[in-house]
Structure formats: structure tokens, C-alpha cells
């Protein structure tokens, strides 16, 4: 008799070529190991010490972070109301006090809780943690994303990128980055121009499916109470707008 369990098991009939296609898509290599995306600057920012946020496991971990990526965790999901925050805070283990809107017109749209992990050079998990993305919408603009993650007590491989500009806002150091991202297929080989642009800084290549595409992003990053906040803007609103929004996030904590 056909029920959803039978149907789920029947997925074993999917042909090997289609399983392989999905494996590549999901980032498994031929031996079934997970390939992780290249370490990008946002990961590098996860550096200082807040082991307490992650519970006892955080004290036992050691190693060097080479990459981060999604990781299966319980109780992840997407929410449409800030009224869900108490439950979300209980899940993720840190306080979240986002503004409902920003003075420049972006308004809260949704909040998502994601399972993430830091991986060492062998793709072994160093520590799993919860990341939170809060999206703000404005007519005619791409959503602004406020991303939160606990600061991990682990060293990271690679060099820490220099911010485009740094300011102190209400005693908090806010780093502003204006970066260019090139998203390329898994089999893409870097050109000479790519290598030169990477060396010059604020240029990153990340791997994903499909054809190559390029985007400019602006970020404002800061650490508050052991949590790293990153505002991400793809609209080219400019550094003054990003610093202003960061100051509103900081003000919301008080």
C-alpha cells in the first residue's frame, strides 16, 4: 500500500546519474565528502571569544576554521513575526533585539533560523551553531539582510580582510565593507584577472550552480554582547546609509 513512507523509500529508485547530479549540486565530492565553499570575509569575522553562548561543547573544541556552511540542526525555520523572538532566542542561545524598521524605509519582513557549522581543513565539523537572518523589505529595493551568529572561540585560516572604513558608533566599532562578488559554477577556473582582483582585495569568488554572475555588496559588521551582526545591502545605498542602519541596530540593544 502506498503511503508517504513507502514513497520516501521509493526514492531509492532514483537513477545513479540523478543522485550524482544532486550530490554535485549539494557539494558532495565523488567520495561523498562535503565540499565547503571558500572561506569568505564574513567567516573570518567570527573570531573572538564567547564560548559560553555555545554551551559546554564549545570549551572542548579546538582547531582552525577553514570554512563555514549549512549544517543540519533541529528547530530551524522561517518566521513572519517578531513576536516569535522569545522562542527563537531559546533555540539559538543568544538575545536578538532587532529594530522593527529603519529610518530609511526598510521594514521587517521575516526572520529565519539556520543551522551552520565551522569546518576544519578536512571538512570535519569543529562546532555547530545557529545563525539568524532577519530580512527587511522596501518597495523597489532588494531586501536588506541583518545576519547574526555567535562569535566563536576559534582561530581562522587566511588573512583578515581590511574594512573599507571603520567608525565608532555609541562605543561599538562598526566595520564597513564594499565588496565585489563573482558567483561561478563549481568547475570554474580562475582567470588571471580574477587572481589579480583577489590579490587587490574586496573581490571574492564563490562557487554555485549555473552561469557566472557578479554582484556588488555592502556590509556593516560589528559585535555586540558576543554576537556578530552583519548588515548586507545589495542596493548600493552607500556607506552613510549602512552606518546609519548599524547605529539603529545598536540603539535597539539599549
Amino acid at each position: 500500500m502506498l503511503d508517504s513512507y513507502t514513497l520516501l523509500k521509493a526514492m531509492n529508485g532514483i537513477h545513479d546519474e540523478h543522485i550524482s547530479l544532486a550530490m554535485v549540486f549539494l557539494g558532495y565530492d565523488e567520495a561523498g565528502r562535503r565540499r565547503r565553499r571558500r572561506l569568505v570575509w564574513r567567516t573570518v569575522l567570527i573570531a573572538a571569544a564567547v564560548a559560553g553562548l555555545l554551551g559546554a561543547a564549545a570549551y572542548a573544541i579546538s582547531g582552525i576554521i577553514h570554512s563555514t556552511g549549512t549544517y543540519p540542526m533541529d528547530n530551524t525555520g522561517e518566521y513572519r513575526s517578531l513576536g516569535e523572538l522569545p522562542g527563537i532566542e531559546k533555540t539559538v542561545g543568544y538575545d536578538i533585539t532587532p529594530p522593527e524598521s529603519f529610518a530609511n524605509g526598510y521594514v521587517f519582513e521575516k526572520i529565519s533560523v539556520k543551522g551552520e557549522a565551522a569546518f576544519d581543513e578536512n571538512n570535519d565539523v569543529l562546532v555547530g551553531f545557529y545563525g539568524v537572518n532577519i530580512e527587511y523589505a522596501k518597495a523597489g529595493a532588494q531586501n536588506i539582510v541583518l545576519s547574526l551568529a555567535p562569535v566563536l572561540e576559534l582561530p581562522t585560516a587566511g588573512e583578515h580582510p581590511e574594512p573599507t572604513e571603520t567608525r565608532k558608533l555609541d562605543g561599538v566599532e562598526v566595520r564597513y565593507f564594499r565588496d565585489h562578488y563573482k558567483i561561478v559554477p563549481e568547475d570554474y577556473e580562475k582567470t588571471e584577472a580574477d587572481l589579480m582582483a583577489e590579490a587587490a582585495g574586496h573581490f571574492y569568488i564563490t562557487y554555485g550552480p549555473g552561469t557566472a554572475e557578479e554582484h556588488d555588496y555592502e556590509f556593516a559588521a560589528f559585535v555586540l554582547n558576543g554576537v556578530e551582526y552583519v548588515l548586507m545591502d545589495a542596493n548600493g545605498d552607500g556607506e552613510e546609509a549602512l552606518f546609519q542602519m548599524a547605529s539603529e541596530v545598536i540603539a535597539a540593544q539599549h
Binding site: 500500500m1 513512507y5 523509500k9 521509493a10 526514492m11 543522485i19 549539494l26 562535503r34
Partner: protein
């Protein structure tokens, strides 16, 4: 070690067959099991049971694609574990969500007079997936074979979760029609 060499070790009943399999596919099978069970201990048990089953199946079987062969065993074991753990109460996680989603594809299953063998369903699903376009294949197989979250698929596809849900909804609709046309539900 090459897959063919690992399979040969099973056929020779060599003790190293399992350790070599574990070395090469342990993490892969653990991920599959964990995505279903959402529990590392259960996942580890499923992986160990997978090696035991593989040991008993080879010989006589000589799988053409070892990861698919092992993955299928792990999936069945993990689904059984999930089912036994959630017999009384449906829990959370991607498996419960995927089961709910897949229930949309089944029409009047309780009244189906003929009971099909699992192999018939598997064959039908294999043909159905082959009929999809590449993006649909990636999304469908990621979701219902690997039990990947909508979030992860959206991340990989560089699109919104809404778009992934929309693709899955559309494909589940196709599957429902396909199963009806094939007389399987």
C-alpha cells in the same frame, strides 16, 4: 581505494572491506542517515547497520555504483528508525516535513486494492525523475532523496526559499499525476 576494489574485498570476504567502506563512505552515509533521523547516535547506528547489510548482500550482489547502493541501504534503515521513533507522535525535522509534502502526491492510497512491490514504486520514481528538467531533478532529489532542507537547496540554487517551495510544489503535482496515470495510487 576505487569502488570496484572495495566491492572485490566484500566478495573475497576480506575483513578490510568494511573499514575501507567506512573510510570512503562513512561520512556520506552518516549525512544521509542524520538528515533523516536528526540524531547522531541513531545515524551512527544506521551507518554500522549499513556495513552489516552490505556484508550480507555482497556476494551475491555486485553494485555498479557503490554510493547509490550504500545510500539506499542507509536511507531504508534511517527511515525505519525515524518511523519507529515517531510511531506515536510526529516529530519535527526535515523527514516529517518531507513526508507531509509527499502525502500530497498520494490519492486514495488506503483504498488501493492492489499492493505494489517496493521495487515497482522505485522503478516508477526513477523514471519520473528522469523525465524532469535538470533544475527540477536537483531540487527534487536533494529534497526527497537526501532530505536536504529548503534553506540549503535555496542557498545552493542562489534563489529564495519561496522559489524552491514553488519548484517542489510543481514537481509534486507532476508526481501525483504520474502515479495516478501509472495506476500506482
Amino acid at each position: 581505494m576505487e569502488d570496484a576494489a572495495i566491492v572485490e574485498l566484500y566478495w573475497q570476504r576480506s575483513d578490510t572491506a568494511i573499514s575501507e567502506t567506512d573510510k570512503k563512505y562513512g561520512r556520506y552515509c552518516h549525512t544521509i542517515a542524520y538528515n533523516i533521523c536528526a540524531d547522531h547516535e541513531d545515524a551512527e547506528e544506521c551507518v554500522n547497520d549499513t556495513w552489516f547489510k552490505a556484508w550480507n548482500l555482497m556476494p551475491d550482489k555486485r553494485p555498479a555504483a557503490l554510493p547509490g547502493f550504500l545510500g539506499a541501504i542507509t536511507r531504508n534503515l534511517a527511515i525505519n528508525v525515524f518511523r519507529s521513533r515517531h510511531r506515536k507522535k510526529r516529530g519535527g525535522g526535515e523527514t516529517a516535513l518531507a513526508l507531509d509534502e509527499l502525502s500530497e502526491c498520494i490519492v486514495g492510497s488506503m483504498d488501493v486494492a492492489r499492493e505494489y512491490e517496493q521495487k515497482e514504486f522505485e522503478s516508477a520514481i526513477g523514471d519520473f525523475v528522469a523525465s524532469l528538467n535538470e533544475t527540477e531533478q536537483k531540487v527534487f532529489v536533494s529534497r526527497y532523496y537526501f532530505l536536504s532542507s529548503i534553506e540549503e537547496i535555496a542557498d545552493r540554487l542562489h534563489c529564495t526559499q519561496g522559489k524552491v517551495k514553488s519548484i517542489l510544489f510543481r514537481v509534486r503535482g507532476k508526481l501525483r499525476i504520474y502515479l495516478q496515470e501509472e495506476g500506482l495510487c
